[in-house]
């Protein structure tokens, strides 16, 4: 369970998050949607312990996230970064098993390689990819490798930051299906940051709309398109006029 309590964050004079409260139940899949610059990625970094909030606190499975040493809560989290964030200097298998080669938990090289190949299969890539470098991969393949890295430690929680940004519709569908499958088979708590409505409907049970640093609407993803909330209506239908300030 993830508890987000009264999170405020500002950079210089600009308020990014202005009192965000959320509760993510164990085993649930939630999406946070919102316009670019709404504060979604900042919130995610605060959840990971990478950014310290000005006010407020986050607890993951009843352990408060520490911003000095975030390792305690991070060990339970898998993270898929927006741009994949694969390490250019390492082959795919080392990227996937980085945690077990350089991080706290250790595996032998052969075991790490076997585990990487196993996870590659899970995301629909064959074993030949294991020895390639990130620069040899397409955008979709990089995303799948990053997904394999996110699930390698069998985390209880997975965060997905814009998982389908920059991908073609077929690859978007492939990634969404993979995320859905992973969330269901691994029984993880998932949080996805996105502004792709069709992805939300495919991968999330619950949705929250973040706008101008505040959660403006929360509900089931099935009810998103039918919502009469002016923020949701404007966002879902891509209207330029409405409560969301488009600048």
């Amino acid at each position: 369970m993830i508890k987000i309590k009264n999170i405020h964050k500002a950079f210089s004079d600009q308020t990014i998050l202005d009192g965000v409260n959320m509760l993510l139940q164990e085993g649930s899949s939630t999406a946070i949607i919102g316009t670019s610059g709404a504060g979604k990625s900042v919130l995610l970094k605060i959840l990971l312990g990478l950014l310290r909030p000005d006010i407020g606190e986050v607890s993951i499975n009843n352990i408060q996230v520490s911003y000095d040493k975030p390792g305690r809560t991070l060990s339970e989290i898998g993270m898929l970064f927006q741009g994949s964030a694969l390490f250019d200097s390492l082959p795919v298998w080392q990227n996937i098993c980085f945690k077990f080669l350089k991080g706290g938990e250790k595996l032998s090289i052969q075991d790490a390689k076997d585990l990487a190949i196993q996870k590659l299969k899970k995301v629909g890539l064959n074993h030949e990819v294991a020895n390639k470098y990130p620069s040899d991969l397409s955008g979709g393949m990089k995303k799948r490798v990053a997904l394999a890295r996110a699930i390698v430690g069998n985390p209880k929680i997975i965060f997905f930051d814009e998982p389908t940004t920059g991908l073609d519709p077929i690859m978007t569908n492939t990634i969404n299906n993979l995320i859905r499958e992973i969330v269901e088979t691994m029984e993880v708590t998932a949080l996805t940051i996105t502004h792709d409505i069709s992805s939300v409907e495919q991968i999330a049970d619950n949705v929250a709309l973040l706008e101008s640093g505040m959660i403006r609407w929360e509900g089931k993803s099935k009810k998103l398109r039918d919502s009469k909330d002016p923020y949701v209506y404007q966002f879902v239908n891509g209207k330029t006029k409405g409560p969301i300030n488009v600048t």
């Binding site: 970094k45 990478l50 390490f87 980085f98 350089k102 991080g103 890295r149």
Partner: protein, 257 residues
């Protein structure tokens, strides 16, 4: 009043920056001797910073030694003191030109590459990814580079000094009509261990300056490619300026002792 306010603001920003750099250096040193140690990353850093800098450093030293021999010969001939060429080339290279030019050349090559590499990792979220994978970025990215640069630079400087002296020797015997034995004897009689050792100590300090500048500016990168470009430029400028300043301070220390 406005000038004073602006001055105060600038001084505050400067002091904040000094504080952040000091904190960064302390963080690196506090991580130097605590596990885990990334042996592979350290070896790679030694190869990239030490071994790969040798060609450019060697060429710089060779040509500098040769040019120095010509200049000293031209100057010395005004006082009928051409025979001082071997001694001054050797002392000049070992005490001053070898360390400073070597430091500046390595700064241009290494500080820029460290800043660009870490900066790119920062703006593409690879540094954040390291943290989420239970790896301390300072320990994994900065410590190996600082260790490799601080320990490689003295060795590089020693090699550069020798190649510089060789450059002077080659010009001396081929262009200035010195006999090989006279040149070598004169060099050997004038050079003292302390001439070399001061250069080696300077080298260690310069290595520390270069690597800390590169790492610090890299970690401060933001705003995509433009930010990485700025970080790279700042790293090289900072490294070069601090090398020259440190060189003066260290020369004063050695001169007085």
């Amino acid at each position: 009043m406005r000038i004073l306010r602006n001055l105060g603001k600038s001084a505050k920003i400067f002091l904040q920056k000094i504080g952040r750099v000091t904190k960064f250096i302390i963080l690196i040193f506090s991580n130097l001797f605590t596990p885990p140690t990334y042996g592979g990353a350290i070896l790679r850093a030694f190869f990239q910073i030490g071994w790969m800098s040798l060609p450019v450093l060697g060429l710089t030293a060779l040509f500098t030694g040769g040019a120095l021999a010509l200049q000293i010969y031209a100057g010395g001939s005004r006082f009928n003191a051409e025979q001082v060429v071997p001694a001054i080339v050797a002392i000049g290279m070992a005490r001053e030109l070898g360390p400073v030019l070597g430091g500046l050349i390595v700064a241009a090559r290494v500080a820029s590459s460290i800043a660009a590499e870490i900066g790119t990792m920062k703006v593409t979220e690879q540094v954040d990814a390291l943290i989420t994978l239970s790896t301390d970025p300072i320990k994994y990215l900065a410590v190996p580079r600082v260790l490799a640069a601080t320990l490689s630079l003295p060795v590089l400087i020693a090699i550069g000094d020798s190649i510089g002296i060789l450059g002077g020797y080659l010009v001396g015997i081929n262009r200035l009509d010195f006999s090989s034995s006279t040149y070598l004897a004169s060099t050997a009689s004038m050079l003292q261990i302390s001439d070399f050792s001061s250069g080696l100590v300077k080298g260690a300090f310069f290595g520390l300056i270069i690597s800390v500048s590169g790492c610090y500016c890299g970690f401060q990168s933001s705003n995509g490619a433009e930010g990485v470009g700025k970080a790279t430029k700042s790293a090289v400028v900072a490294a070069c300026v601090f090398i020259l300043a440190a060189n003066y301070i260290l020369t004063e220390v050695f001169f007085n002792s």
